[in-house]
């Protein structure tokens, strides 16, 4: 009965002839480029055609979410869905009664993959609203097969990398799980992941206390992604104070390298790529996108490595560097205004 009344009420939502004409005219007017990531998604067959695959990790949940939508950290993450490719999902298995896991999609480039799952819990997460974002990030641990998997798909067969995950709140009984995999070496082709999301670890303390998540595993998923080779956007560095350094931005990652000893020395001298240095991208709309370092991101040479935004550090001795970092969330490289490395601003090459 209530639904009949509701339907009757909704049927009285109509549109005036004037508004209809306005909308039609608006559509026909010439428009500038559409929103960055939507346009990118449309023009990029990678995303539409991409296929996700998988073999076996256990998730190592941590870090910041790319879909920070819920907490509205001032960034518009909404176009993420338009960037995603349809995953080829071989299996998804929930390990909690009533937990509904829906693969949403993924975004990727040669160095980084983001895969997004939505978790619909069987009941509301009590008091959830009182918790802050950081309390919802958690740590699991990587499966011992990780290294083998990396070897199996990196182009030169000896890459290292890392995977991380974040839980982002959608509403009282829904979380997004964003699985981020970044690889030091270039990846290409179909890559299969066999992921097992063990638990919410840190956040688990909170959630377990509420007897919400008390099992070791939340869910497992096997899926495949297809990585296409993409040109990175070159960032101009002439006159920035970092001549000799090459920087490229891809949709999900950045690459910074140099074989110029003076540049490398300067970078080291200024403490540029230390664990606490700040690297970020500024988009044309003024939005800032943080760059995160992967655990094996910055190899200098024998026994010398500096990991950026992670725990290890070392001394560069041989005058070369090769840094990989992944972006806080995917971007359209055409929309990049600049890359800032520890106060040095490198303008995008237009």
């Amino acid at each position: 009965m209530i639904f009949d009344e509701y339907k009757n009420a909704v049927n009285k939502i109509n549109i005036s002839e004037k508004k209809l004409s306005e909308i039609a005219e608006y559509a026909k007017k010439p428009h500038k480029k559409s929103i960055k990531l939507i346009r990118y998604g449309r023009s990029f067959p990678i995303i539409a055609a991409a296929v996700l695959l998988l073999a076996g990790f256990t998730v190592y949940a941590a870090g910041n979410g790319i879909l920070d939508i819920i907490f509205g950290g001032g960034k518009d993450y909404s176009p993420f869905e338009n960037l995603t490719g349809e995953m080829t999902v071989h299996s998804v298995e929930s390990h909690i009664d009533g937990l509904d896991v829906t693969p949403i999609g993924y975004a990727s480039d040669s160095y980084t993959v983001y895969a997004v799952f939505r978790l619909d819990f069987p009941s509301a997460l009590p008091e959830y609203d009182e918790y802050q974002e950081l309390q919802l990030d958690g740590y699991g641990h990587t499966d011992n097969k990780l290294i083998d998997i990396l070897k199996s798909f990196s182009e030169d067969g000896h890459a290292s990398g890392s995977c991380m995950g974040s839980y982002i709140k959608e509403d009282e009984d829904t979380l997004y799980y964003i699985y981020t995999f970044s690889c030091e070496d270039k990846m290409s082709g179909d890559i299969t992941f066999d992921m097992s999301c063990l638990n919410l670890a840190n956040s688990c303390e909170t959630l377990v206390r509420d007897r919400l998540i008390y099992k070791d595993k939340l869910f497992s998923a096997k899926f495949t992604v297809n990585i296409r080779q993409l040109e990175g956007r070159r960032i101009k560095n002439e006159g920035s104070g970092l001549d000799g350094l090459n920087a490229y931005v891809y949709p999900c990652s950045i690459v910074i390298n140099s074989t110029d000893p003076e540049t490398v020395n300067e970078i080291y001298r200024t403490g540029l790529l230390t664990p606490y240095s700040a690297v970020y991208i500024t988009l044309k709309n003024g939005e800032k996108v943080d760059v995160k370092g992967s655990s094996a991101s910055y190899e200098l040479d024998n026994n010398t490595s500096v990991s950026f935004n992670s725990a290890s550090s070392g001394l560069p001795r041989y005058g070369c560097m090769d840094f990989r970092g992944y972006l806080e969330f995917p971007v359209d490289p055409d929309e990049i205004e600049s890359l800032t490395i520890y106060g040095y601003e490198l303008k995008a090459d237009n």
Partner: protein
């Protein structure tokens, strides 16, 4: 797609698009903006539809995606609680008002399946296709929505 074909589709489907947008956004002005964006996309990326049903399904899917994006935007947060009676353009009865109010009070995740099921006559499978939610989830949400509405009515 010619301009006249575009306008024909628009006239045929705009109310469904607007109603779904209202259901998502609970705000007439935002819903009209969403509808505008939907038809802008249709015009710029013309799609050929075999049937009117396909046409409507495509438009409603785009509407759902656009509305979800709008809801995620920090700009919209807290701005969607305008008077829901402003949504309708004609007089409505008290019982219709009460029903509209009750459904609009539901969380968005329940409201949309209810709207598509009861107003658009969509099946669970079709709702799943439009919203990207699994069929089992759609069923659960419809069930919970009914339960919530029942509880709401009993309380009143």
């Amino acid at each position: 797609m010619t301009d006249s074909e575009f306008e024909l589709i628009m006239r045929r489907q705009i109310c469904s698009v607007l109603r779904l947008a209202c259901s998502y956004l609970k705000c007439r002005a935002e819903a009209e903006d969403a509808a505008q964006e939907v038809f802008l996309r249709l015009y710029r990326f013309p799609v050929s539809f075999e049937t009117e049903k396909d046409e409507r399904a495509w438009l409603l899917t785009v509407t759902a995606n656009i509305c979800k994006n709008i809801l995620r935007s920090p700009r919209i947060k807290g701005r969607c609680e305008a008077d829901i009676y402003e949504l309708v353009t004609e007089d409505i009865s008290d019982s219709e008002k009460a029903a509209l109010e009750a459904v609009m009070k539901l969380p968005e995740k329940y409201r949309t399946p209810v709207h598509l099921f009861y107003c658009e006559g969509y099946s669970v499978k079709e709702i799943s296709q439009v919203t990207g939610i699994k069929e089992s989830t759609v069923r659960t949400r419809l069930q919970r929505a009914r339960k919530l509405l029942r509880a709401d009515m009993e309380r009143d």
